[in-house]
């Protein structure tokens, strides 16, 4: 499951790559079952929407064997390493619920800006691989991306602040802070769209999107009754390991064990549970077959 040179070139041009049918229906069924299991589990990494519905569950790969394997199967970890050009580890793992009717909007943002400011990640050479577990259409909050927006580089917060002040000069504009800490200004969005357009990642269950840490993305609220479950695995290179900090974020949000992934064969996801080492063990052994 290595990417072709054309796929790698497309990722570097667009800042993302969509891979249809990357997981089989059986694998998707397993991942969906495990996802609902995690939603029902009151754990520190479980974050709620404003309305109280589950929004995100962080770090399920540290306790759930299926998700541990998901981070390691070749078709996830090998493309990540190919696209970043180095050995990778999992910086962040989260399941986004985006539940039918209850899942709320995510405003436009760059992931890397958070990891730079909150985690001292030195460079934007990082990506996320997202597995979608439902049919995604226009109405259940597809991941929206702006092709080429990673080429704007990492957004400068001082510039954004000045842009927002300029925009707020009109009296009917927002007076309150946005939901996101590092929300981009409308002017930056307009700039990103000058030679581009918004693209919605839609498709049958099991498709995957790899996207660069500086690619602008967001999503609408889910106005469909169909959940839009997705698993985000953010792979970082070992060379881009986080710098030491006084008060690092909890490791369920920001990993500080930079040991590179020991990959598993692609059929490992559906292999019996007792055939491999527990994810809690110090050294994860690859499956024999």
């Amino acid at each position: 499951m290595r990417l072709t040179p054309e796929q790698i070139a497309a990722f570097h041009r667009d800042g993302f790559l969509v891979l249809p049918n990357w997981f089989t229906p059986e694998e998707v069924d397993l991942l969906r079952t495990e996802t609902y299991h995690e939603f029902g589990n009151d754990q520190p990494g479980r974050i709620l929407e404003k309305n109280g519905a589950v929004r995100t569950v962080f770090a399920a790969h540290k306790t759930n064997d299926t998700f541990a394997r998901l981070t390691r199967v070749s078709k996830m970890a090998v493309p990540a390493a190919q696209l970043l050009g180095d050995e990778v580890y999992v910086h962040q793992f989260k399941i986004n619920a985006k539940l039918g009717l209850d899942g709320e909007q995510w405003e436009w943002h760059q992931d890397y800006l958070y990891w730079l400011k909150e985690d001292s990640m030195p460079t934007p050479n990082v990506l996320s691989a997202v597995v979608f577990l439902n049919e995604v259409d226009d109405f259940n909050g597809p991941l929206l991306l702006i092709p080429g927006s990673q080429k704007l580089g990492t957004i400068d917060l001082d510039v954004e602040k000045k842009y927002s002040e300029l925009d707020a000069a009109e009296s009917w504009k927002p007076t309150l802070t946005a939901d996101l800490k590092y929300k981009i200004s409308k002017r930056t969005l307009v700039r990103a769209l000058e030679d581009s357009r918004i693209v919605a990642a839609k498709g049958a269950p099991g498709f995957v999107v790899f996207f660069h840490g500086n690619t602008l993305h967001g999503s609408s609220g889910n106005l469909s009754p169909v959940d839009r479950l997705s698993v985000f695995i953010s792979y970082n290179t070992v060379k881009n390991a986080l710098l030491p900090m006084d008060k690092p974020r909890p490791t369920f949000i920001s990993e500080r064990d930079f040991t590179p992934i020991d990959t598993l064969p692609d059929d490992a996801l559906l292999a019996p549970l007792d055939s491999h080492t527990s994810p809690q063990s110090e050294q994860l052994a690859p499956l024999a077959g």
Copy 2:
């Protein structure tokens, strides 16, 4: 500008009717200019989003001559009367801003349910005609509708409450009240979609959507930099006039003058301002030409 029998049949089948290019670019320019003028005007009918941006301006037709004429031009008022089968008056007038990046989501709802509960409107034989003043695409929060959903009738709030309690039995579901007072339950939405699908009203500036008071509709937040301005004129029949109430809502939200509309010719919108009677006058006279 009378509707054809086929258009009337489509409205009764689907609960809505989309009319492309119903207003000319010049008319749309005028309406857009007047819309921004109203946004800047701090008035009782101006409602803000949670983020402080303008969400809605009610009743601009009572003070703004252009919007007064808009409610009366034949291509708005005549189809309304045709579709409802009786003389009409304007029950409610509002401009929805849905500003680029700042416009927030509207959850699924039926307009008539509000007018029944809040205004004592006796029957659902009422409709809204919406003029869209921008190009609407998938990303600036198109009006979403469910064809045929008006045939479910007016939603019963006791049934909805029971449905919501059943849904809330799962622990990852919402615990807080929704934004909308009369939000429909997921079960009702699923029922409405059993033999239907969600449709997005998209198109070039100047298209109009007529939709029935019981048609389920909503819209996502605006994740595009392009505003999605729209003017909602809710026409009610004189026979369906509101019943007396102890504490009626303000007339800028709910009209209690049931005088039928005196229509204007379709070119009236762009006619010079001094050529017709002021909208504040008791009796609105039709334009000569």
